[in-house]
Assembly symmetry: C2
């Protein structure tokens, strides 16, 4: 026996906002609002534990659930003054899903439940006949689609026929008798399709709707959304059953959605839209274009319809008050749904509002300035990964723009790509590495994967809270909505606007910050860290302990990294320098040489080029540490592979094709990831590290002489499994330093360390630390070897693993704390025992992943190194990690 059902309404509730896990976000916040005394229609929430029970028992329910629901319905009816199923004063309810995390558009909803051939008459008497029959047909349509699985096209076809038969253009023109006819036709169609009549018993209706909500938790859209947002399947959804209120009772009724601040820019202004005489679904579906809430917004948008503020000043004032109370109560920007029934305001939902990265930043910084939250809370309020949106190019204001039309600025950022009209096409081209802009009349949950694949989204219908807008903002994807001048013909693959025709594949550029849609590709410029961004970064820097370095080898990358606040280079991959210009020729000569002498001669031509590369980096990173990794990849990566390339390279090098092909074949490996690379290469071709060490140390000496400041490069040896390997390469580096000491009369300063990227290296860290002044955890390769998974080959089964829920997170994105992390922890501890001042960092791609940064903070590493564009993300993540760790320590301290 458990408690499965939690009631709310009439200024009281069994639940609260803190019970989000149990009641879902919607149910918890409805309970909280009821407790706060806000106007909430009474209702109850069936907890997520029922969902868990449901899936653990082959979609059955706990025995005592039925009784608890009946009791709750009784209570709701008491408050509302009606009874569920009572033909005289029927209680109508909505049934909605509500998971712990918001999953917009993913779950199904049923409104007006409780209507049947009897109760429709009572409603007609209480309100009016047209409203009653319109509500009934809406109910049948929704219930038929969502619960009974009847294709919604069937309903639309009937509606269209009936409308045309009467010569009517709009649904609003339909009269009560017309809707009665539609209801009759709907019921016939359902009976014909399913072989059973539309259920008339409200209890049966409710049972069906609850089952449909729980069932929808596992539909493929929901599964996709969860995978995209790392939401565990185990959480389950709650079901909220609530007395209906009607925004569609006529001109004094309305329904709308609102944010307490602008979710796109973060400005402190009530932001939202509403429709008169409509139900909630009408707003988000984007079929009618909604009106602004405030006069200010209406004027700014130059909208024709009146604002809510002007139209229903009393209800508006009430709502404004509620909005302010909610923001102050929750200490965060709120996203609310409301309905006005015959002039009375009802709150249907409140939750933390989704926002763009830019808005999140501004809201966090503003709220800290307003004293609503602390700076530390402000730091925690911004999702580090979301900064990615602000760190990517925007349109060059000086570039020529061929603006073809304008829509709503639904999700900021600039994007360019080929026009595609279907999600499938977006996915196909994206897989082929091409950039696309998804152009749709409106989007639906079925488009999620296409939206993920495209660079940007454009719709011709819908407002700022339409599906496309909400989802795109959540993804940080540029989006322009409701570009009504655009005519889209999916079949012919064309889009027509202002007399111009664009075809699938034509390039367009969009600016989600202005709503502009432009022909062709428009030039973009790099982002900068200023304003709120700079402010928050400063706060983050004040609290973080981890240093942030960048992985960079070109001067351009190094400069970007420094501008983004990198505190040094954590990984300079010297092999990238081997491909530039005509260097590759010398590299190939080296590989083809038969002797040490031949290799040395080719390397001596590379020496001055490498020296210059390093000198540039030292100048840019002046005053900051620079870690340079010696050559890592297998030599065959530098050779041509196809017959045509071999012929060309052989000719240009003056060797025979056969000789070149022979070398290519000799260097081919079964498992190159585990092959002749890293220190194995440096040991078998000692000329290579000798040359590289010389280039590094000479460059350091040159720049040091130039600036008068000492430079001590960190030279890193890759792929070490045994101390003997590091010792061998270290000896070659030391010998190069000795030679320079003799030549220049002063011994260069430097340190030598190693990548820890093989399990054995982690297990022998206590030995290796005797010879290594620093460890840099190469988490990419360490993940590959610890899991025994080649990243290049993993797609074929990791996808299946995610579908089967075998894997919590992609270990190549988020560090696997339970496996790979154990090795890192052991190596860090053992390394420090032997050499207490050993420098420890991470230089895999995990360095820019917030969850992985938290792990690095927890085990006390010194720094993480990531790509230049992720440096601000890492800075913020490091700050959050420091705060979380401090919180945890306090909790433990208090518990102790």
């Amino acid at each position: 026996m458990g408690k499965w059902v939690y009631t709310f309404g009439d200024g009281a509730a069994e639940g609260s906002a803190a019970m989000r896990d149990l009641l879902g976000g919607k149910g918890a916040n409805l309970a909280e609002m009821a407790s706060l005394g806000l106007p909430v229609p009474p209702g109850f929430t069936i907890s997520t534990e029922v969902c868990t029970w449901f899936y653990a028992h082959e979609r059955a329910y706990p025995d005592d659930l039925r009784g608890q629901i009946a009791a709750a319905l009784e209570e709701v009816g008491r408050i509302a003054g009606r009874r569920f199923g009572d033909p005289a004063a029927p209680l109508l309810v909505s049934v909605r899903s509500g998971a712990r995390a918001s999953m917009p558009g993913m779950m199904d909803t049923v409104l007006n439940l409780g209507l049947n051939d009897e109760t429709v008459h009572s409603i007609a008497e209480m309100a009016d006949a047209r409203f009653a029959w319109d509500s009934y047909r809406r109910f049948i349509q929704m219930y038929g689609d969502v619960v009974l699985g009847v294709d919604h096209g069937e309903f639309e076809a009937i509606l269209e026929i009936e409308r045309e038969r009467r010569g009517l253009e709009q649904d609003t023109d339909m009269a009560a008798e017309d809707w009665q006819q539609v209801v009759a036709r709907y019921k016939e169609m359902i009976e014909e399709t399913l072989g059973a009549p539309f259920p008339q018993d409200p209890v049966e209706q409710l049972r069906g709707a609850i089952g449909a909500v729980f069932g929808s938790w596992m539909n493929s859209r929901a599964v996709t959304y969860r995978r995209l947002h790392d939401i565990p399947q185990e959480w389950g959804t709650a079901v909220t059953v609530q007395a209906m209120v009607f925004g569609n009772m006529g001109a004094t009724s309305a329904t709308g959605v609102a944010f307490t601040r602008n979710p796109s820019t973060g400005e402190r202004e009530l932001y939202g839209e509403f429709l008169v005489n409509a139900q909630g679904e009408d707003v988000v579906s984007g079929i009618r274009t909604p009106q602004e809430l405030t006069e200010q917004a209406r004027i700014a948008a130059a909208s024709p319809g009146p604002s809510l503020e002007a139209l229903m000043p009393e209800a508006f004032a009430g709502f404004l008050d509620v909005a302010r109370r909610l923001e102050a109560h929750y200490r965060d920007m709120q996203d609310m749904e409301f309905t006005i029934e015959n002039g009375k305001l009802w709150m249907l939902q409140t939750r933390s509002g989704k926002r763009t990265a830019r808005a999140a930043l501004k809201i966090a910084v503003d709220m800290a300035a307003e004293g609503l939250i602390s700076r530390e809370e402000a730091i925690d309020r911004v999702e580090p990964a979301s900064l990615d949106q602000l760190l990517h190019p925007t349109l060059d204001p000086d570039a020529h723009r061929d603006v073809i039309t304008r829509g709503l600025p639904a999700s900021p950022g600039a994007a360019a790509g080929e026009i595609v009209f279907t999600s499938a096409e977006a996915e196909r081209l994206s897989a082929a590495g091409r950039s696309t802009i998804l152009v749709r009349a409106e989007t639906s949950p079925e488009d999620i994967q296409g939206m993920v694949a495209a660079r940007g989204v454009v719709t011709s219908r819908g407002g700022m809270t339409s599906h496309a807008a909400v989802v795109a903002r959540g993804m940080g994807k540029p989006c322009v909505c409701g570009a009504g001048a655009m005519r889209i013909d999916v079949r012919s693959g064309t889009m027509t606007v202002g007399g111009r025709v664009f075809h699938a594949g034509d390039p367009v550029t969009i600016d989600g910050g202005t709503g502009e849609i432009m022909a062709g590709y428009v030039e973009m410029i790099q982002p900068a860290l200023s304003g709120d961004f700079g402010e928050l970064m400063g706060w983050a820097d004040d609290v973080r302990r981890l240093r942030i370095r960048a992985n960079a080898e070109t001067a351009g990358d190094a400069r970007t990294a420094r501008e983004f606040g990198a505190e040094g280079i954590g990984l300079c991959r010297t092999e990238h320098m081997f491909f530039e210009g005509d260097r590759i020729l010398s590299v190939r000569e080296m590989i083809l040489a038969d002797s040490t002498e031949g290799r040395s001669a080719a390397l001596s031509r590379l020496l001055p080029m490498q020296r210059k590369d390093f000198a540039d980096l030292f100048r840019i990173m002046r005053g900051l540490p620079v870690t340079i990794r010696l050559l890592d990849p297998p030599l065959h990566e530098f050779l041509p592979h196809t017959d045509a390339e071999i012929a060309e390279v052989a000719a240009s090098m003056g060797v025979t094709e056969a000789a070149l092909r022979g070398r290519v074949i000799a260097l081919t490996e079964s498992n190159p990831m585990l092959g002749h690379r890293g220190c194995r290469l440096l040991i078998t071709y000692p000329e290579i590290p000798t040359m590289q060490a010389r280039a590094i140390l000479e460059a350091a000496a040159d720049v040091s002489a130039e600036t008068g400041e000492p430079i001590a490069p960190e030279i890193m040896v890759p792929l070490v499994a045994m101390k003997t390997e590091l010792d061998r390469v270290r000896k070659l580096i030391d010998q190069a330093a000795d030679a320079i000491a003799v030549e220049r009369g002063a011994r260069p300063a430097y340190s030598v360390g190693t990548m820890i990227e093989l399990p054995r290296a982690a297990l022998r860290a206590h030995e290796i630390a005797e010879s290594a002044e620093f460890f840099s955890f190469g988490t990419n390769d360490l993940t590959q070897t610890t899991f025994g998974i080649s990243r290049d080959d993993a797609a074929s089964f990791l996808e299946a693993y995610r579908d089967l829920n075998l894997l919590e997170a992609d270990p190549f994105r988020t560090l696997d704390a339970e496996g790979v992390g154990v090795l890192i922890r052991v190596a860090a501890n053992e390394g420090r025992k032997v050499r207490p001042d050993i420098k420890l960092g991470v230089c895999g791609e995990h360095g820019g992943d917030p969850a992985s940064v938290l792990f690095c903070e927890k085990i006390g590493l010194d720094y993480v190194s990531c790509s230049p564009y992720r440096v601000p993300i890492a800075r913020l993540a490091a700050a959050q990690a420091a705060l979380a760790t401090a919180r945890e320590a306090r909790t433990v301290g208090e518990a102790g």
Copy 2:
């Protein structure tokens, strides 16, 4: 200041046999013999610490070494009644190397040192002039070659000219004046070649010789030998300087070598050979054919020359007594060198004799029977790996043999292959997977690698103690020596015998047990465990704790394994069954199927075949456990790859080449070792484990019904990294069992376990053990992933690693206790904590490696599984491991 020099002689010694590490085997045993009062020429040993010092200080010596050597020389001279460098009564010495482990033929020796233009006259006066000048020219020749680096061909050329000028055929025909002439010519040639005269100062001569011995420790032959025999470079060599005694002083002098038991068969009989009027080098060089020691042996060999027993009965009796005392003292078969100078016996060396595996077995079993050693000691006396020789095929006695000639049965065993005349050719063909017989006039240390590469060795010259014979026995390689009827012409690549000409590439078969050389390939038969072998195995089984299983999938392998004492199957690789006969067609159909149904249809054709395979194994292994691994390799291994194969397979399957090629390309992986295989395959193609589980369980039920005995197969899931993977596959197996339970009315018994072959699996063993009833450590893959080394690609650098001494042992042969072993230990401990009765075993190739078996014993695994032919090796290794562990426990107990 250290003690660098240890003297011996005159019934006393500063060293002893226990000081082998410091004095080398030779020096330690000379000291021991001196202490025992045996006739040993006085001398001293410069310790291995000097060698270490020498290489640590750029080939310099400790300051106080010179004084210690001078003092020791003084003492030796006192005992011998002569003085080093005294023109009147000169002390002549030999200088020999002596490492901790015997390295025959690897190190250089100089005899007769101390001779110069003055002392040669004193020797002439004391003995005779011919002897003196012959000794002097031998000294110049040896010293010139070994110390001064003059090509020995130069000496031979002079000698040949001088002999021919005098019309003499043999060196023995040369008179004193002739040798004096040769000496003069040698000295001229040396002065011309080196620009400096031959050193006349005995002290300088000695310094040069000592330096040459230490220097030879790092020559390439020595390095190769050490690598082959896992001798660490750090051990170093000692140098023994000893007063010369002369076996070449005329008809009452002789020199010889002997074993206390027959090193080939193990028979208890004095075994050896000698030459009258010769120095030690003459015996082992194989230039003169030596005579037998005993009358019995002479008669058995039908030799023309008299035995030592007949020729010098008194000296023989003395030697026989010494030999008996030495064997009793050392409690092991001894290999001795002796010299008789004018009728007086001198012992020059004794050491544990090398022996064939067959001899080692017989000697150990006999000595235990004689009460000389305990059964436990007998177990420890046999090198498990050497049993390999006894476990391989011998010639079928009923097969036709075309015997072309006969030589000495120098190292037992049968081998067949193509004739090669050079070591380089043996290596080349062996690398190409071809079998060869190396045919040489005689072998030298330069031939070591060729001998390793060849299946067997034949020489036309030399006796049972010649280089070829000694080295071949050490390697367990079949060898026939001194086949004098054979004429070899390396240039034309032919071998002529009895009028028949054989060319390089012609097949021959040799029997090293009889000395027969046969034309063509002769049929062979399988070995059996009987006699001494069976006896020792029984003793081993009594003391070992580890169970020994075999890796086997065919009925033939399973039978062999059981005959060799396997206690079950530890690894049945089901994929091997997929290639047999027309099964591969169904496998390919499965791979090419587009749907689950198509795959299931193809698999249903495989089901009865797999069921029969498993039923056969269960019958053969009746009463013993059988572990069956589900499909492991990536699917592309079952598809054709070349264009020709693709065309053929496509035609036979009735699919287009394009379709087949498309599938091949789709399945191609960058790093297949880390790709879509193992449980990843079982999860993405659940039809496969479902079919295999059914085949296993139905077969078990069938055979159980047949025999009336229960069978509970152990089903093993490969390549698990996460518990969720094992759970998923386990569920499929359980479902198959459920289905069978319904069909047959009884639920089959079975257990499910996993390979631990990825570092992550070892690190999460505590979780995985919740779902696994057994762990089998797949040490091959675990070594690959822990080191990040692909075994297939490792040759290119592991060879260099060995040369550079970066690696103690090949981790693919001997388990890397420090890295891979740490993971195994952790997994074993954590697994047991969660499931105390979890079965733990090893099924990689390490299961048959004695050092790895010791590791498995130490960490308390339950069993090791290896290839059928290695089962007896593993049984003996497990016994030795149990004894070693018990000894260690006692030592710790006593210390505590």
